[in-house]
Symmetry: C2
Subunit: 336 residues, 2 copies
DNA sequence: TTGAAAGCGCTAACAG
DNA sequence: CTGTTAGCGCTTTCAA
């Protein structure tokens, strides 16, 4: 598609391209009359500035690069909404890549975004990411970078997360307070910060209340519904006596377990209390409704984007990483 | 962030930038030895090609622009997953904008994407979009453009949609076959193609089975859960006798109505059969599980992206818009 | 097999 | 107030 350029306008008006450029950017030096003529011509010729050329010249773009594990997960989709809104307000556009929880793809996504000379990077690492050296290099070279939700330790970058440990602690504490005796935990992929923190929150609450932490009560699962279902299957066949309460690393896993329990006639909450983490749109819709830890997803995306913009605009802020922790809230419903 | 350029490499190796460029793109003219040296240096210096410069030179980018009403809606998030995957495979990146169902923002999104000289555009129009002239202009000027799900009539662009009318027809037909007597419909925003088609499908099924189409049985709603809730509220207070079945424009609306029914003691399906459209992740989780028309969201995104790539790569295909219609499937569960 | 030079569209000194 | 010029990083003729 052939687009009108500043030169086309200049020719038509018989003035120089620089005058057109200045007129378009409302430079004070240019006369009102010229500005008016230029604007009229630009309008008529359907001129759209070539951001590519502008960016090349300015040696940086107004693009925010985002890498998420899976766009379709409600949690990330909601975060994206926050990011996109903030970016739009600030005149930035977002370029989005999904890693599909694959480390290699994550690296290649980053490369692509770097090649596009994005102004900054927003990333939530994949569950298979164990090596964070490429992030360290980026930061060292001055690339504005903010991790959200799933962070890389040992990287001097700003982060925005929720109080995973605290949220998990409160949820477990709540179950203990309700008198449940055998409280199990379905944990997420071990390398992920969120998995570790939530698990630790669970363990701390147990210990602090004088409960033993039985290793067999910690069931390794993933992050998806299927993982919850299969982990529940395993739990049902292996544990005797069965736990009477289950705190899951996130909603999807809790929902997967819920489905299995229903299928097997395990009543929630009578036989098994159930608590999730996220408070996605499904939580309140199931019966019994899911007790869960609410994460402010939109706000998380918004904050991450704001932090990144701050870093993009102020070089110094890059040196002082900020670690923002958003409050979660235990939403008590019928499942526990 | 200062990035290594082709010139840095050239200086270091004491050869010309053009040689470096050619070596990097594996040009046959360059000797193996030079190529090896260049590649080694590029690696060592952590060189990343400047896509902006490449694009400026090629006068087009490897970016696909996407405009959706709301990224956080499951349906669109899933579509995005399809788009993103296809784009990644083909070496394209996706730039995403959300219109938030606002016509002005939609236009401004398009402007931004055009300014970035995207290779093509994928759009699902907002519910407030009634004027499609800007799209017509784009197409006339040769911009590859594919509408998905929500299309603009009278624009010579390719489209990928599901068989909305057919899906709605089958759903309604099913309700009739089950013996329901007073089948109502909650319709979406009137300007949207999907709203009109689904409504028509409902009406056609009613007529074809010799049922009268009572205007008061068609309740105007929106597309979100809140809309379903308030529409149900209105229905409950205004209609007497109450319908005994309700076909909704989409899942969220059905879910919103479901919540209201539960609250008011209207039993589903005993007092009111309920059918949705989409088959999002909530549908199967509620109790009774929602009977709904399944839309292949991921496939829709994938097809739209493929169609767009085709148009980007082959000029001629732009002249012959393709209209792809994906099959839906009636998923029968317990709510009807 | 390699180098020099021009140009993609735009901005910003510098000059007038 | 406006024009000239150079240059952002890269590719690509045209020459050598």
């Amino acid at each position: 598609m052939r687009q009108t350029t500043i030169i086309d306008i200049a020719k038509k008006l018989d003035i120089s391209p620089s005058t057109v450029s200045r007129a378009l950017s409302n430079h004070p030096d240019i006369s009102q009359e010229t500005k008016a003529r230029v604007r009229a011509a630009a309008d008529e010729m359907d001129y759209r500035p070539n951001t590519i050329a502008q960016n090349l010249q300015k040696k940086q773009s107004q693009i925010i690069g985002v890498v998420v594990p899976q766009v379709k997960h409600y949690f990330f989709a909601e975060i994206m909404a926050g990011v996109t809104d903030v970016a739009y307000q600030a005149g930035y556009t977002v370029m989005i890549c999904q890693s599909n929880e694959d480390f290699e793809r994550e690296k290649s996504n980053i490369d692509v975004l770097i090649s596009h000379r994005v102004a900054g990077l927003l990333v939530s690492v994949s569950s298979t990411t164990t090596d964070c050296h490429h992030f360290q290099r980026l930061v060292r070279r001055g690339m504005p970078l903010v991790f959200f939700d799933r962070v890389c330790d040992h990287v001097e970058a700003s982060t925005v997360v929720v109080d995973d440990m605290e949220g998990a602690f409160r949820a477990t504490e709540y179950l203990i307070g309700k008198g449940y005796q055998r409280i199990a935990h379905m944990a997420g992929p071990p390398f992920l910060s969120i998995s570790r923190l939530r698990r630790t929150g669970y363990e701390n609450a147990m210990r602090q209340c004088g409960r033993p932490v039985h290793p067999e009560w910690i069931i390794q699962a993933g992050l998806n519904e299927e993982d919850g279902t299969s982990a529940a299957e395993a739990m049902l066949s292996r544990l005797n006596p069965l736990p009477d309460a289950l705190f899951c690393v996130n909603d999807p896993v809790a929902l997967g377990a819920f489905v299995k329990f229903k299928e097997r006639g395990v009543r929630v909450p009578a036989d098994m209390a159930l608590v999730g983490f996220t408070d996605g749109p499904i939580a309140s819709m199931i019966d019994p409704a899911l007790t869960t830890v609410r994460q402010p997803a939109y706000l998380l995306g918004k904050s991450a984007a704001e932090l990144l913009l701050e870093q993009i605009r102020h070089r110094e802020s890059r040196k002082n990483p900020v670690h923002k922790v958003l409050k979660t809230e235990l939403i008590i419903r019928q499942s526990a």
